[in-house]
């Protein structure tokens, strides 16, 4: 029981951390600190994955997201000389007004409906979180999910070709 209340405390801490850092990412103008906040958010989500007995997801979250993708973000920000200029999309989206209004209305609608549907019908019930071994995960991945698994390789190939093609100087 003590262990459980400790877990609650951890969960509350991690969830608060995740929300605060996510809010920082969403509303801050300082890109470098936003990347760091995003790292914190990812790490706290990884902690939550650990709490619900999914260590593999937690570790690849750290390895792939925090260790690779966000480093790439940081790297690009450094490359673009963050102290003065950033790529601003204001000039790309000249008329943001209607876009913002339309998208905002729809997003709010979807979010409202989703939350309404979910929260009105959820009933609390007891169940057991169970931890799966890596072997189980891997064998599902290579049998039932073989097609998406192969597609990821093609997707990554496309991304590599594309990134090189776009970023290289003529």
């Amino acid at each position: 029981m003590r262990l459980l209340s400790l877990q609650y405390a951890f969960y509350a801490f991690l969830a608060t951390l995740a929300i605060l850092s996510a809010a920082y990412v969403a509303f801050s103008r300082k890109t470098v600190y936003a990347v760091l906040a995003l790292v914190v958010a990812m790490l706290s989500l990884a902690g939550i994955f650990l709490l619900i007995q999914s260590p593999f997801a937690a570790l690849i979250q750290v390895f792939v997201y925090a260790g690779a993708i966000l480093v790439l973000f940081l790297y690009v920000i450094m490359l673009l000389n963050p102290r003065q200029a950033d790529v601003t999309i204001r000039s790309v989206f000249e008329n943001r007004g209607p876009f913002l209004a339309a998208a905002g209305v729809f997003v709010a609608g979807f979010f409202f409906l989703t939350a309404k549907w979910l929260l009105t019908v959820y009933t609390v019930e007891r169940f057991q979180f169970e931890e799966f071994s890596l072997i189980e995960v891997a064998s599902r991945l290579l049998t039932d999910y073989l097609l998406p698994f192969e597609l990821t390789s093609i997707l990554l190939l496309m991304a590599i070709i594309g990134a090189v093609l776009i970023a290289k100087r003529n």
Binding site: F27, F49, L80, I166
Partner: protein, 102 residues
């Protein structure tokens, strides 16, 4: 282990998702917008893992891997596009580079 984490996770995922959406709409800097999109993807990951653990599906962690692959591919290509655009704006059209500030 207990029934509380699951709904809390769903709620947390919705909160992070909507923070991400707000970030996309609020931010003007393309990199910040993209980071907010990453928040949205992460909210999806959280929901996916919570459901997988809730219903005892062993493939859940693998599905998260797919989404991370997509995020990685998008990050690679997207950041390359930003670099290219920045380079062109900065070198080709100086007036626009000036108006980019802010």
């Amino acid at each position: 282990m207990d029934p509380v984490f699951f709904p809390a996770n769903l709620l947390l995922s919705l909160v992070i998702f909507s923070l991400g959406v707000m970030g996309v709409l609020w931010q003007r800097n393309a990199l910040s917008v993209f980071m907010s999109i990453e928040l949205m993807l992460n909210a999806g990951n959280l929901a996916l893992i919570s459901f997988a653990q809730r219903f005892g599906d062993s493939a859940g962690a693998g599905l998260v891997l797919f989404i991370m692959t997509v995020a990685a591919a998008e990050a690679g290509v997207g950041l390359a596009i930003f670099i290219r655009l920045y380079r062109q704006r900065n070198t080709i059209e100086l007036d626009k580079a000036h108006e980019l500030q802010g």
